[in-house]
């Protein structure tokens, strides 16, 4: 009787181990198909304590510096994203930012000059140069 119980436990353990491996394989597949996701993006005047400060859609030129904050989750392995800054349709700068598993927040900034007034956008792209999100804002008086 005791042997029978032991045998059952062994079978159950093998079955559990088999299911676990199978589920683990599914998780890897999911991780490869959807490597990470953008959980938050914001345009702000500064970053304090890894959090965007003074988030807005229009910034005074007097602020002097603005930042694009982006936070990602589900980062399976070290990778990178790009922040491409455009003033109207003209590329001003492109910044490559590293992401590390499992979640990562990062940002890029630009220094404003007097003739930087106007509509801006920041394109957030993954390592494959695929557009993840566009942040639109204006630099005003």
């Amino acid at each position: 009787m005791k042997r029978r119980y032991v045998g059952c436990w062994i079978v159950l353990i093998f079955l559990f181990a088999g299911f676990s491996k199978a589920f683990a394989a599914d998780d890897d597949f999911a991780a490869q198909a959807k490597p990470f996701r953008l959980v938050r993006a914001a345009m702000c005047e500064s970053i304090e304590g890894y959090e965007p400060k003074h988030v807005a859609a229009a910034f005074s030129i007097n602020v002097g510096r603005i930042s694009c904050y982006s936070a990602f989750a589900g980062v399976a392995q070290t990778t990178y994203v790009q922040h491409k800054w455009f003033r109207r349709d003209e590329l001003v700068t492109a910044k490559r930012l590293t992401l590390k598993p499992p979640s990562w927040a990062t940002y890029s900034s630009v220094q404003l000059r007097d003739d930087d007034k106007g509509p801006w956008r920041v394109e957030i792209l993954n390592a494959e140069d695929e557009l993840i999100q566009t942040m639109r804002f204006s630099v005003v008086d």
Binding site: K53, H54, V55, A56, A57, A58, S60, F86, R88, D89, K117, G118, P119, R121, T134, R136, S138, V140, D141
Partner: protein, 479 residues
């Protein structure tokens, strides 16, 4: 040579008509008034007018004014002084005579009076020497004499050669219908083949005939014989009909083939040529003499473009035309009279280079094109395509202190733009018109237009085309 060709090219048909019409009017005035004193005064006025134009050209202001005044006064004087002549011309003649008829000049030499006078002198055996000039000027051949001026008549001739008259020994010169000089001394002929019985009077007649084209009539005092000398011929005249014929042939009143008609025709032809030349001169003086240069900037119109393509860019949208012409034409030039057009029928997709020439420019008659600036135009064409683009608000100004524009949303978020492929490739966002932040104090919404670049338009025909609704959130700024 090129200038001459350009000049001839610039002459309009209206100019030719202008010159011909006025030249003919001038010629008709000459035809109608020739032989009268009016024509001489008209010539004087024409000379004054020429002087006035020269004075204007030289900038002699007072002189040109004075000339103008004299011309105006002279024109008035003509009408008053020569009113009878003008009335005769205008009243006595019919429309045909006024417009195109050529009345033959009346033979003014009274042949009958001369014939009668000469034969009366012959009958009474009164010696006489009569000179009827041709075309040659006799002033250098004839010497002495007394200026006369009396009208020719039988009695006048008889009295001139009357033995008791102090001037009866010389020659009488008959011009037209007047005895212009009497007692004139003629050159003697040195010929030795003349009959012995010919005296000094005959020798003078032969000498005169030899040295000129005048007809000289001699009446012999001894024999009462009449002799006519012309050129190298020296023939006796035995009857008055022969004398009349000889006289008529000389003064041009004979048959149809006589020299008088030919001479009159030549005179009219020369007068016509002078009239047309004068009028051409006047026309060039007025219309072309005051040549004016100007330059105008006109829009370049592109036409006949392939409907499947759009003009992306052009190197110029206006061209500067350097024009010349008479000041009157240049002064009256209107903007709608000058056009610059470029035919894009042969244009292809991509960049096209066209040379501008006279064919591209429309000008009013009489105005010449000297230069086009620039001489070449680049036109880029492309096929139009559609592209869906996000819309972004173009904020300007500044929010009141302490406020922050937190978020903005645009509805619709995307619009379809239509334009050339090349243009749309350069555009990734459509921007609204500038929206002022200064008056915004709280969250709300506003409808604004979307602004597109030249060559790009938005799809759709609705009245709200190109309008988007902007919703914005405003909050107090964090400390």
């Amino acid at each position: 040579m090129n200038f001459l060709l350009a000049f001839l090219h610039s002459i309009r048909w209206q100019d030719i008509v202008d010159i011909l019409l006025n030249g003919y009017i001038l010629f008709r005035l000459y035809v109608l008034f020739r032989g009268t004193n009016v024509i001489r005064v008209l010539v004087g006025i024409a000379l004054l007018w020429i002087f006035q134009r020269i004075a204007v050209t030289l900038g002699l202001i007072v002189t040109s004014w004075a000339m103008q005044g004299i011309i105006a006064g002279a024109a008035l004087i003509i009408v008053i002084v020569f009113r009878n002549e003008i009335r005769n011309v205008l009243q006595a003649k019919n429309l045909k005579a006024l417009l195109w008829d050529f009345p033959h000049k009346a033979v003014r030499t009274p042949i009958d009076s001369i014939v009668e006078g000469v034969y009366e002198l012959a009958r009474t055996r009164t010696g006489a020497l009569i000179v009827i000039p041709g075309k040659d000027d006799l002033d250098e051949i004839i010497q002495g004499g007394v200026t006369w001026g009396g009208l020719i008549s039988k009695e006048m001739l008889l009295s001139i050669f009357y033995n008791g008259n102090p001037v009866h020994d010389g020659a009488a010169i008959l011009e037209n219908n007047r005895v212009t000089r009497v007692g004139a001394i003629l050159p003697l002929s040195l010929r030795d083949d003349l009959p012995q019985y010919y005296g000094t009077r005959h020798r003078a007649a032969v000498g005169m005939a030899e040295q000129s084209d005048a007809l000289v009539i001699v009446v012999s005092e001894e024999r009462g014989q009449v002799v006519a000398a012309k050129g190298q011929t020296f023939v006796p005249i035995y009857d008055n009909l022969s004398l009349k014929k000889t006289l008529a042939a000389h003064v041009g009143a004979g048959g149809a083939n006589n020299q008088g008609i030919q001479r009159e025709r030549r005179e009219l032809a020369v007068a016509a040529a002078i009239c047309f030349l004068c009028m051409a001169g006047v026309w060039f003086s007025i219309a072309k003499g005051m040549e004016t240069l100007t330059s105008v900037e006109v829009p370049l119109e592109y036409s006949n473009r392939d409907s499947g393509m759009q003009i992306i860019s052009t190197s110029v949208n206006t061209v500067r035309l350097h024009l010349s012409g008479s000041s009157a034409l240049i002064g009256s030039l209107r903007a709608d009279q000058v056009k610059a057009k470029l035919d894009l029928r042969t244009a292809v997709n991509g960049m096209n280079l066209f040379s501008l020439s006279r064919d591209n420019i429309t000008l009013p008659p009489g105005v010449r094109l000297n230069r086009i600036e620039p001489p070449e135009v680049q036109v880029a064409l492309d096929v139009p395509t559609r592209k869906e683009l996000p819309v972004q608000v173009d904020w300007v100004g500044a929010l009141p202190d302490g406020l922050v524009l937190e978020s903005v949303s645009v509805t619709p978020t995307r619009l379809v733009a239509i334009g050339t492929k090349g243009l749309l490739e350069q555009i990734s966002t459509l921007y609204t018109e500038k929206v002022k932040l200064d008056r915004l104090t709280a969250s709300g919404q506003v409808d604004v237009s979307v602004v597109t670049k030249t060559g790009v338009r938005l799809a759709g025909d609705s009245p709200a085309q190109g309008k988007v609704t902007v919703r914005y959130t405003i909050r107090r700024r964090d400390a």
